[in-house]
Symmetry: D2
């Protein structure tokens, strides 16, 4: 069992906190008890806040509405940074007036892909005209039929070399206390392994989200990396990414990592948080 610390006493030492969403603010049952008070504490202390989520299925605005509905009414739309936003920026830079094929939901496609480009779900790709497709994006684990559309994806990418983007690199997400479901990152990894290729990944641990949040923060003030605490429940994404970016990191035990296996996982992976807290509550 770990010796954990009080989140308030740690957060109080920083000028800004970056919070992961799932496993930190909410879980499969909804908002984690007491989180509202923590957000109030952060606001009262004047600590800047950003939420960094590996979720590409919902736009910044939709995420904002979810937090409103859950009662976190002080959270502003621009405080939320999603991996989908960054995939969108990338595609706007690197593909123009192109056709982008995807695996995912139509709503994710409409917000991420359709800014100057056209989107085509994998199931509608005509392999005989693979040349008409300019890029491919793994958006979400839902919105397509795994039985057929992964095969279409593999064949498209065998027929034409094109940039391939993974908008959310998470491998698994929890669906109940004990069980998980495969996330977009797992589907992308399967295709990478089949093709022996490496795609371009967005989402923690990659640093694009940290960079975006850091730059955004510095528009309103002056923050060094030493001033910022990254808080998350997953060693491989939140803590590794925060460590690599040079932030102090706090692992919370309210999500993917439990007090039962935290020590073991830290030793096995060598990914070491600066602090460990039971949750961001109290």
């Amino acid at each position: 069992m770990m010796n954990t610390q009080s989140f308030f006493s740690i957060a109080g030492q920083f000028k800004a906190v970056f919070l992961d969403s799932y496993g930190v603010l909410k879980n499969h049952r909804g908002l984690i008890d007491g989180v509202k008070q923590t957000i109030d504490f952060i606001r009262e202390r004047g600590i800047a806040l950003r939420i960094l989520t590996n979720d590409a299925s919902r736009s910044q605005h939709e995420q904002y509405l979810v937090f409103q509905r859950l009662g976190l009414t002080s959270i502003q739309e621009e405080e939320i940074i999603t991996s989908g936003m960054l995939a969108k920026q990338y595609l706007q830079h690197k593909v123009k007036n192109g056709r982008i094929a995807y695996l995912g939901t139509e709503s994710a496609a409409s917000y991420i892909l359709e800014s100057g480009n056209f989107s085509v779900p994998a199931r509608e790709v005509d392999l005989e005209h693979a040349d008409g497709i300019d890029a491919f994006v793994f958006l979400d684990d839902e919105g397509f039929d795994w039985n057929s559309d992964i095969n279409t994806t593999v064949n498209l990418l065998r027929r034409k070399t094109m940039p391939v983007i993974v908008a959310n690199s998470d491998k698994l997400y929890p669906v109940s206390k004990n069980d998980v479901a495969l996330a977009t990152g797992s589907v992308a990894q399967l295709v990478e392994s089949i093709l022996n290729r490496s795609f371009i990944h967005f989402g923690k641990p990659d640093s694009q989200m940290f960079m975006y949040a850091f730059d955004h923060l510095n528009r309103d003030g002056q923050y060094d990396k030493d001033d910022i605490l990254m808080v998350g429940d997953t060693l491989h994404t939140d803590i590794l990414g925060g460590n690599k970016f040079g932030l102090k990191t706090t692992l919370v035990l309210s999500g993917n990592t439990s007090s039962r296996n935290a020590d073991l996982l830290i030793n096995a992976t060598g990914i070491i948080p600066d602090y460990i807290c039971d949750s961001i509550v109290g």
Copy 2:
């Protein structure tokens, strides 16, 4: 372009040939033209023959019936060795009066799993009673719903440690001249990677099939490894497996490996056949 040799002139130097099935005897359109004459040549010369196929979906008898229907009437049931047969033998040895969960078709389950054991399709597994399952088998890429049953598999194997068998390690199979479909081996590899585990694989390049064929051959006569030629269309399964087992190997260009990319693939992989032929015809 490769300099290829005549298959007859090579095969004539051996006392036995081991033939892969798909890409050597048949392809997605049916029997390859001229294969019947090659089998006749092998019989006339008194060369012993075994067919080694990484197919777990059909029993030895069903494979036999397929060859009969295709006109290869001289092929005997016991000359056919399938990876499914060997998975079956293994399960009979290592699991007894147990419950074996699987991904695949009901018919594959009935011939492979049900000799002294009970079989349960993944979709019927009750995760709350994971303890009641004794082993898991990846049988086929069909017969289940990829959207839900892969998740059930991952959760079952997270809840209980049990032997996991992959009855067919092939990653892809051709469905047309240009296109492929993911095979059982790809699904198994996805789950292995998610769980960071290695399962027990049957099928070439693993040596169980070569060993079985070699032992079976030596019941009727006396054959050294030097007397046997392994013939296949895939470097990673047929040629690597044959080389590892110590047989001479022939790559044919009538399936997965084309004359266009054979040189490149041999250099990239370092898997070197002793001979290369356009096909087993002529």
Copy 3:
């Protein structure tokens, strides 16, 4: 902590036992206390015995002399099977009158490579005449200079495609109670990863050694796989290899796997022995 069983009560149920050497019969201090009595027990009961060792540095005869010196005088030379013996057989089959370059000691090279072939240590390879080399073998982690000869190996294999054999696939070996040293398998894996290739590996878990031992056993009697117990201290080699070959397996806690981490490793890897014993003593 595991509930372990008495080795004698388990071994007594079998017609033959296959024993790993290092971690089972001996360790870095020499013969494990009480092993002599266990070998006597096996002889008295008329249980057939084979020793399967992933050691390519010493010939069968040199291994035999080691056991004699350690006091295991009943062990016969032909009861010992080394991965080096099998690499030697393979090279005799697949390379003839060729030049084989190697990393390892001169004495290992002389017994493994020089039967119808010439051997060249990596440090003497002339890269400008790479075409003169017909095969490459990773023999041992000693006998060469890591600072220079690994680079020569990489450059040789970049210049010419040739069969590459790994005579001992072990990654690590223990040098004291707490510490390890990189073994041949680690060096080979480094080069495989640099070149993005897969070499031909000998040694457990690959089945060549099991096959050889099984065939050899059946010259003197009739043994089914059910009649044989594989005993080893390493999950990834002894137990995985024994399981794959279809033998019953016993993990002993006198070597690489300790009573402290056995449960954890079995759960993490999913490699499940049929039995667990503290050691082969008692």
Copy 4:
């Protein structure tokens, strides 16, 4: 063969260029012919310049002196960004008053590790006092004995969990027209694979260097990502890293990638540069 473009016509469209050093400005024989004129062209056009090098063996100042000696006298010290600089920054943030063990040269250790910390070469690590070490850094492929110090590293990291930094992720570097040598990244990867861990990597393709160069550039002016061209000779580092960061990318054929294999490598890896030039000359 590729259709390549003139570097001047491409660079002329951008406000800033990021240049890799080895394979772009110089090669194993020294400065590439004509590079001086290219730097003059860049200066005349008022295009901003940064040099991004995966070299941790020399400090920014030492790199500056090398360019002076080679005749590139207009290059300023602060225009050079090395992966070692960023590893140094990271260690200053995350380790304080600690002892950092390393593999590499003493001079690299003195500039990277000794700012508020003490450095200990791997060969001097006392494994019995592993607790006294706070972090480990892979600095360089020289300055240590591969025969013994890699083993010490493995044993240290088995005994104590600590942050591990790879200051240069390159796997290979060219030593002549045909041959290569293993670089720091290969040694680190060997140890990662032995320990089944992932270390923290600095150097392209990771985005820390791009981020640093981008931020540094924007101190003097206003540059969007669209205004910047990344130029390099290696797909996996320069082009992948530039693409991920959202820059336009140019592959040059004067280093690791030749006109002979560029097409093949682009198709095999799916890493697609926006432009291809023979070199930065002309």
